[in-house]
């Protein structure tokens, strides 16, 4: 739209014609109060708080619905306008409890702010206010009816934003109320319930304290919490979240998560897991002391010193006696990049083994290799919100990548994006799709071939060949495409799809994985045949820059065993030690524990999982909310993780790895190159100036020690030291440090070396199980999710109503 100029309060403002006055004013620094208006949701004009005076128009106009045109003149704070707003507030407050001192929203409440601003607190009513009991709609959503000002934000965010339609208005007039979708008379406890995705978006958008969060309510006041901006640990979307933390006797407790400042890649979204499922941290089942298996077979709590010494000694002994080749290492999908990097470096340079892998939830090796040699072809999560056309093949973002699903829905709704979906299942996002193609079972490879022009693949690809053909036509007619690929595609079929996509000029890609740092685990080289940055392992060539890492590590030059092979080795008695950091492969891969009875098993874990239960040594680990570092989401968006919670007795995996190395007699300075520049490999130690406040404690200590010419002993546990090395050595990780430390995300493309011998692909093609999508739903989160009481509780409130195809009419308004 062409720009027009309007005058607001005497100030000339230029903006595109048709923009909403309220937004135009906001960007010009003129604040207009609004209850019902919420950016991105449909317009209501219901609260009448945004009224302004427009020249030559008889009635006050609502700024939230006024589209600007050339030459209009507005006044936003005349006495008349102020009086109108004040009166509206007075009418509203007549029935509002004004119980701010005990209200969860107190201090963050838009009504409270307004009342203060317009001086409307004095009530002229003599009638008693309506009182009603607070209602528990689900373990996480509570409703306090008298506080509700009927702005309908919750109803809209649930219908338009979430596509769930679990909230509505019932009755009319002053009896109107927001209700959930299961009425009291249909529940055993005779209380109304919510059958929904439990995302809590409704709570987040509620301008007052009418909707409150079960995990947060009455626990604390906003100004008594620490607010820590970090990244959700659950799925591969890696939402930015701000955690509210309060201190407790044995550390601290996270009481809420939200993303109200909309600063992250996830715009204003968090799903139920991101918003509530941090309670596992405070689970009573948490391991808080190292455990060592006794001769009688029992695990006994011991001191850290004893446990570490035991592990260090045994690892060194087995390496030296039976060789690094007999040791297997499995890393996790929720470690930080620094930890994952450190773990593989430790394995390769200290344990002298390439037998390292992780539970791969998506085939990033094939993904990276398919994109080798291209630039700018990897998409950020942000692009799911802006791409004009999106092709989604496989996957079920609604369940597995909820932020992706939110963005896609928003993109379709707000920008009219075209969404093409090809799936073997009727996934929910098809409701937003301009075309949905039912793919035949195991048909993704054929689909990719067909898309690329191989018509003979048609009958394997999809049952409906006409639909298939028109689907291809629609996609080919797009000028640029964002291709989102579910993790059910891997190996050769993944490559085929990407190869096809690469023929369309502006196409970008993303492969959706399952956990907060699944992508980082692969990027950081938790792989038997790849060093960090998908650098293939092979003979060292001192002239070849891709040999740099191997040169520095002095690690074995032949690929190691992958996860499945490690277990095969155990079965044949060729695995002397098994080191698992933050993973539960025994349960994941249904491994018979007996396989490992002659193997020395060390597990770093939060809980006594199936894998921890068979360990010889269990080392209590901190979770992602209890440490600092960085993670990379499915899309390659790198974000900073900051320490929010704390639990006495546990240690970060980073620290534990370093301590084990130390106990093994390794040169810790080589492992974590911290210290003066003269030390290992030209580290740019920055003495803490650029590191966020979170690592402050360690840094201050280190700075003081260095200044006093003492050895900075705490420093090896500072992840930013290893980040220097990642930045220096790992292809694709040319990070903007300041960007990271100021809490902004940055997008990284995988930078695989061109495929030498198709090794990666062949390997996956033959061994599909190596990539094992977790298949989590909205209410599960791998092994971790089992220890979240709230997730277990919520599962009972998940949406049960079958998806209903609503009239296009309803869906669009």
């Amino acid at each position: 739209m062409a720009d027009v100029t309007i005058t607001v309060d005497g100030k000339k403002i230029t903006a595109p014609a048709g923009s909403l006055l309220i937004e135009v004013c906001k960007s010009a620094g003129i604040e207009i109060p609004a209850f019902c208006y919420y950016p991105g949701l449909s317009l209501q004009a219901a609260c009448r708080m945004c009224v302004v005076r427009q020249e030559k128009v008889p009635k006050l106009q609502t700024a939230c619905t006024t589209q600007i045109a050339e030459g209009q003149v507005f006044f936003t704070d005349t006495p008349e306008v102020i009086q109108a707003r004040k009166a509206t507030l007075q009418m509203l407050l007549g029935n509002h409890p004004l119980d701010c001192p005990v209200c969860d929203a107190g201090g963050e409440c838009e009504l409270q702010d307004m009342t203060f601003k317009y001086g409307a607190a004095d009530s002229f009513y003599a009638e008693p206010k309506n009182h009603r009991e607070e209602q528990k709609w689900s373990p996480v959503v509570y409703f306090d009816r008298p506080r509700c000002i009927l702005c309908y934000r919750c109803v809209r965010t649930c219908s338009e934003g979430m596509d769930v339609f679990a909230l509505a208005v019932e009755n009319r007039g002053s009896s109107s109320t927001i209700v959930p979708n299961v009425p009291a008379k249909l529940t055993p406890d005779n209380l109304a319930h919510l059958d929904c995705e439990q995302c809590g978006m409704c709570i987040d958008v509620c301008p007052v304290g009418a909707l409150t969060s079960g995990t947060y309510r009455y626990k604390t006041r906003p100004w008594e919490m620490n607010h820590v901006a970090t990244v959700c640990t659950h799925c591969g979307d890696g939402c930015k979240t701000t955690l509210g933390v309060r201190s407790t006797a044995d550390g601290s407790e996270i009481v809420r998560g939200d993303n109200r400042d909309k600063s992250g890649i996830n715009s204003d979204f968090l799903c139920n897991k991101g918003r509530y499922a941090f309670d596992f941290a405070n689970s009573s089942e948490r391991i808080t002391q190292p455990l060592v298996r006794q001769p009688n077979g029992e695990l006994k709590a011991v001191s850290w010193e004893e446990a570490l010494t035991c592990v260090g000694k045994k690892f060194a002994e087995l390496r030296d006696t039976r060789g690094g080749k007999t040791i297997g290492v499995i890393g996790g999908n929720r470690l930080t990049n620094e930890e994952a990097y450190l773990l593989q470096k430790f394995a390769r340079s200290v344990l002298h083994t390439n037998n390292i892998d992780h539970h791969r939830t998506a085939d990033y090796v094939a993904f990276a290799q398919s994109l080798a040699g291209t630039t700018g072809r990897a998409a950020s999560l942000r692009e799911t919100l802006t791409a004009p056309a999106v092709l989604l093949v496989g996957g079920d973002p609604t369940n597995q990548s909820p932020a992706t699903a939110w963005n896609l829905r928003s993109n379709v709704r707000l920008n009219g994006a075209r969404l093409y979906i090809a799936n073997t299942a009727e996934i929910k996002l098809r409701r937003q799709a301009s075309a949905f193609l039912q793919v035949a079972e195991y048909g993704y490879g054929a689909l990719a071939a067909f898309l690329a022009g191989d018509d003979s693949a048609a009958n394997i690809a999809a049952p409906d060949s006409a639909a298939l053909a028109s689907f291809r036509d629609a996609i080919r007619s797009e000028e640029s495409l964002l291709v989102l690929i579910g993790n059910d595609l891997r190996g050769a079929e993944l490559k085929r799809l990407i190869d096809f996509g690469l023929t369309i000029p502006g196409t970008k890609f993303a492969l959706l994985a399952d956990y907060a740092n699944s992508r980082g685990a692969a990027d950081m080289g938790l792989l038997p045949d790849m060093l960090p940055g998908y650098t293939p392992i092979g003979p060292i060539d001192t002239q070849d820059p891709s040999s740099r890492i191997a040169l520095e590590y002095r690690s074995p030059t032949t690929p190691g065993l992958d996860l499945l092979e490690i277990f095969e080795a155990a079965e044949t008695g060729n695995l002397s030690a098994f080191y698992v950091v933050g993973s539960n492969p025994i349960a994941r891969y249904a491994v018979d524990p007996a396989t490992l009875k002659n193997t020395f098993v060390v597990v770093q874990e939060m809980f006594l999982t199936e894998t921890a239960a068979i360990a010889d040594v269990v080392l209590p680990a901190a979770n992602l909310y209890e440490k600092s570092g960085s993670v990379t989401n499915s899309y390659g968006d790198l974000q900073q993780v900051k320490k929010a919670g704390d639990r006495a007795g546990v240690r970060s995996d980073f620290e534990t790895i370093v301590r084990i190395a130390d106990k093994m007699g390794a040169d810790v300075r080589k492992l974590v190159p911290f210290g003066p520049v003269s030390n290992a490999g030209g580290t740019r130690a920055d003495m803490g100036q650029t590191r966020g406040a979170q690592s402050g404690e360690a840094d201050r200590h280190a700075v003081w020690l260095t200044a006093n010419n003492l050895e900075p002993r705490l420093s090896p546990f500072d992840p930013s030291a290893i980040l220097d090395e990642i930045q220096r050595l790992v292809p694709g990780y040319e990070i903007l440090r300041l960007q990271l430390l100021s809490g902004n995300d940055q997008h990284l493309s995988p930078a695989a070396a061109p495929i030498r011998d198709n090794a990666g692909l062949v390997q996956i093609s033959n061994r599909r199980d190596l990539v094992l999508p977790a298949g989590d739903t909205l209410f599960t989160s791998g092994s971790l999710g089992r220890y979240s009481a709230i997730l277990n509780d919520l599962r009972q409130f998940r949406p049960r109503q079958s998806l209903i195809q609503i009239d296009v009419q309803t869906a669009s308004d």
Partner: protein, 444 residues
């Protein structure tokens, strides 16, 4: 059922077929039925829409639903071409207290509504008309349904109407009890199966209406007038009324008069004569106290304000409205405090609740007036009521807020002394409400 009444001063246009069995299609045809639509079609496909709209414009007909918008002009706003189908929507929600004229039309002359809707459809190029009746009018809906079925049976509705090559279908619809649904955009929502909450305007229904298609919405009486106007000619119809207020209109006179009833009087007819001559004067020879001139939403007139002609402009000038033409007459025995309370009870009950000033304002006025009525009032309560009403005016999402605030302001401004006296214990009039009242509440 409203009984048929007559008076020599009446000028009969719309009532021409009343009381003559015109609900039967054959009888309707005998009485010139379906002649108007054929006359329109006879103009030829090219000329017809313009001819109809010009005739409507020249008739000076203004909407009979309340707002008095010139009908011909409304129709001319509909875009000639549209990607989405266009619709005609007949508003028979008639729920304004004091109004029962559409009731009579549906019962006595249902085919006039059908024929009028057809003509409106021809004028704007719509192929479908909806006739929406309030839920309480089930018996009338059945009459309408029968009439529609008869018209189909005769081939008047459906494909190729009267050989014009044009199609027109009519669908009848029932509401289920909601005054606000009479508001045109809430009416469309209700017809689309939703809560009767109004829509944001612009866009106006003439451009984006029912099912997003261009839609004209007219009151049933407005529509029923259309065939008559086409037959008699726009100018002839206009000449019956006053300047800018063409023709005649059905006035329902109720309350304290000797002969209440629905009378067809020319626009501009004297209010005094309507009360004292047409309706036989104040019941029992009592003194007149006040008149609500056009349904409950219109500010009250005092007894000394009735020398006024009944048209949209004269009443607007007097600070009231002609509204739906429901004249409610109050004699000296009425307590204005009580009457004001009963009026706001209605609005509080019927507010859709969408916007704050109306939802909360009607509730607080009702609560405050209830307390005053029950003897617990203070003088500042009158100011409070006035303050709330003044701050509802022009601030709400739809005109309902004004419709609730205007009469309230009328009562407290014109009868402030009576409110003050009441609060001091000097109650005027005889109470009509029983002492033990339970107020109607919505919700289940």
């Amino acid at each position: 059922m409203p009984r048929l009444v007559s008076h020599p001063d009446e000028v009969i246009v719309l009532k021409r077929r009343f009381g003559q069995g015109a609900a039967k299609i054959d009888r309707y045809i005998e009485l010139d039925g379906y002649a108007a639509v054929q006359k329109a079609i006879a103009q030829g496909a090219e000329a017809m829409p313009g001819w109809i709209i010009d005739t409507m414009k020249s008739s000076g007909l203004r909407g009979r639903g309340g707002a008095g918008f010139p009908t011909g002009m409304k129709w001319s706003f509909v875009p000639k071409t549209s990607a989405k189908p266009k619709y005609v929507l007949v508003n028979g929600d008639e729920s304004e207290p004091g109004t029962c004229k559409d009731h009579l039309i549906f019962r006595e002359d249902p085919h006039a509504v059908i024929e009028g809707a057809m003509i409106a459809g021809l004028a704007i190029g719509a192929k479908t008309g909806f006739i929406y009746l309030r839920g309480e009018y089930r018996t009338l809906l059945e009459i309408m349904e029968r009439a529609v079925a008869d018209a189909y049976a005769k081939g008047f509705l459906g494909k190729n109407i009267f050989g014009s090559g044009l199609d027109f279908d009519i669908i009848t619809q029932t509401g289920a009890g909601a005054y606000e649904v009479g508001e045109e955009s809430a009416l469309m929502e209700s017809l689309e199966g939703k809560r009767g909450v109004p829509r944001i305007r612009p866009p106006f229904p003439a451009v984006v209406g029912l099912y997003d298609g261009p839609t004209i919405i007219n009151n049933a009486e407005t529509i029923a007038n259309v065939p008559h106007i086409l037959l008699m000619g726009g100018e002839a119809y206009a000449a019956l009324g006053t300047e800018r207020n063409g023709g005649t209109r059905l006035f329902g006179i109720s309350g304290h008069v000797e002969r209440p009833g629905v009378y067809e009087l020319p626009m501009g007819y004297s209010l005094r004569r309507a009360i004292y001559e047409v309706a036989g004067g104040v019941r029992g020879g009592k003194q007149l106290k006040a008149v609500v001139p056009g349904g409950a939403s219109c500010p009250v007139l005092r007894a000394d304000e009735i020398d006024i002609g009944l048209d949209f402009d004269q009443l607007a000038k007097a600070g009231s409205m002609l509204g739906s033409g429901g004249i409610v007459v109050l004699d000296e025995t009425v307590s204005i405090v009580e009457f004001a309370l009963r009026t706001i009870q209605f609005y509080q009950h019927e507010s859709c609740g969408w916007c704050i000033p109306c939802r909360e304002g009607t509730d607080w006025i009702k609560k405050t007036l209830t307390r005053v009525y029950e003897g617990g009032g203070a003088k500042k309560d009158i100011d409070t009521v006035q303050y709330i009403a003044e701050n509802m005016m022009g601030r709400t999402f739809c005109p309902f807020g004004d419709a609730a605030a205007m009469p309230t302001l009328g009562f407290v401004k014109k009868f402030r002394k009576e409110f003050e006296d009441y609060i001091e214990g000097k109650k005027a009039g005889t109470a009509l409400m029983p002492e033990e009242r339970d107020l109607i509440g919505v919700g289940h």
